[in-house]
């Protein structure tokens, strides 16, 4: 491995957040095309599920992350309890992620409940950002997801979001947890789902 390639790895390792290709180009004063082979070589060297950590592509940059199957071991390192979203926060986050830019009114119509508090919490935690004001009466704020949102869920960009299903029938109630929808595993005879691409404007 040449020195530049090693330096790229070292920089990504030492940087606090994901390091974008453009930023790496600034360090080495070269073009993106010059660095691509180095990145590709590193991705080959640090693939997921091989050495405990891997070179991930998150939020438009590169970052070393631990393999997710090692969570139980790493959880012991972490003294604080793992962060948990409330159902309301997850729903709201999903609506913003797939429909951004979206206003509070639109979210409240979708959810059928007041969502001001949830939006405030998500803004405070840095998952959302304000994109501007909608050009309609009242000029409501438009919300979108932040860079931190992508980092948190380990997404390369918004197009990496799980595909949004189109439902034309209801999912059956799982026996274990009333009132909550579970989609994994079991056969779903009632479900007719057509995969659609998430809107990434």
């Amino acid at each position: 491995m040449d020195e530049r390639c090693r330096a790229v790895a070292a920089l990504i390792f030492a940087a606090e957040g994901p390091l974008s290709l453009d930023r790496l180009c600034q360090f080495f004063e070269c073009s993106r095309a010059d660095l691509r082979p180095a990145i590709a070589q590193l991705q080959e060297l640090y693939p997921p599920r091989k050495s405990g950590f891997y070179l991930a592509e998150v939020a438009g940059g590169y970052q070393f992350r631990t393999d997710s199957d090692l969570a139980t071991w790493l959880g012991k390192l972490n003294r604080e309890r793992p962060f948990r979203f409330s159902q309301a926060a997850l729903e709201t986050l999903a609506m913003v992620a797939y429909r951004q830019p979206v206003t509070r009114g639109e979210i409240e119509y979708l959810r059928g409940v007041d969502s001001g508090g949830v939006l405030k919490t998500l803004l405070d935690k840095g998952f959302l950002r304000i994109l501007g004001k909608k050009d309609v009466p009242g000029r409501p704020l438009m919300y979108g997801t932040s860079k931190h949102f992508l980092e948190f869920f380990g997404l390369k960009d918004l197009s990496a979001l799980p595909t949004l299903k189109e439902f034309s029938a209801l999912e059956p109630v799982p026996d274990s947890e009333p009132g909550r929808v579970e989609t994994e595993g079991e056969a779903r005879p009632l479900l007719i789902s057509n995969e659609v691409e998430p809107t990434t404007e």
Binding site: L19, R23, Q63, F152, P162, L170, P178
Partner: protein
């Protein structure tokens, strides 16, 4: 059919309605409005019995259900002009339910993604490490963060004075002397006359305190002949016996 439902499981009226429709194994395209409305209302009634605050949103949904139910009882009048009118009053509700379910499902898929500090971990950084590499890149800040930072700054900065209220300094000693002067002139005075008309609340309080001080020092005697009759203040000492030093401001300890 009785329904046992823990209300904490429900995020909102749409969530509850979805659950009711599913447990009844109804076809979403053909919701039995009579049955669903009845069950929905009984859940709300149940909430009331448990002395839970029924959120406005749940009541709004109840009203919507009843409205749809009543519309379904009316004969459908087909007007050729109103093409856009939905013939099925349930259509909007169904659309909202399906849309809601879509995002509920999306929320669950989000939750299944490997998250930071739950499934995926990063190297830990302390403040000083952050200053060097990559700091310039993180200069972009949202309007919300900016406003929040400013808000915090404002809170920590000095409080702006919009209007300053000047507190009038009233001294108990001054009022003690005033009372003594008045009593020295007339020999006795009624309690109500002690408080002149138009005196401020503060003046009245200080006058009352001065009077109590005088009584404590046994310089003034207070008496009332019969209940509900005027209360009289009298000098209990002769002018020569007074110790002027004991009537200084400091002696009373009001500062």
């Amino acid at each position: 059919m009785t329904i046992e439902i823990s209300l904490h499981n429900f995020d909102g009226p749409l969530d509850l309605l979805l659950h009711l429709i599913k447990t009844n194994e109804m076809d979403i395209a053909d919701i039995q409005m009579v049955e669903i409305t009845e069950q929905y209302l009984s859940v709300i009634e149940h909430m009331k019995q448990l002395n839970l605050d029924v959120a406005g949103e749940f009541l709004l949904m109840a009203a919507t259900l009843i409205h749809i139910k009543s519309r379904m009882l009316l004969p459908v009048i087909e007007e050729p002009d109103s093409e856009e009118d939905e013939l099925d009053p349930r259509a909007e509700l169904v659309r909202r339910l399906l849309e809601y379910q879509r995002y509920k499902d999306a929320a669950n898929s989000l939750d299944r993604l490997p998250c930071l500090k739950r499934e995926v971990f990063l190297r830990q950084f302390v403040e000083s490490d952050v200053a060097g590499v990559g700091a310039e890149e993180d200069l972009s800040i949202g309007i919300y963060q900016l406003a929040a930072a400013f808000h915090q700054l404002l809170r920590h900065s000095q409080v702006e004075f919009i209007h300053e209220v000047v507190r009038e300094q009233l001294s108990v000693a001054d009022f003690v002397h005033k009372i003594l002067d008045q009593l020295g002139r007339c020999g006795q005075q009624s309690f109500t006359d002690l408080f002149p008309h138009g005196a401020t609340r503060q003046e009245m309080v200080v006058t009352f305190l001065a009077m109590l001080e005088l009584v404590k020092m046994r310089m003034v005697k207070i008496s009332q002949s019969v209940e509900f009759q005027p209360i009289w203040l009298r000098l209990a000492v002769s002018a020569t016996e007074m110790d002027p030093a004991s009537l200084d401001e400091g002696a009373f300890g009001y500062g």
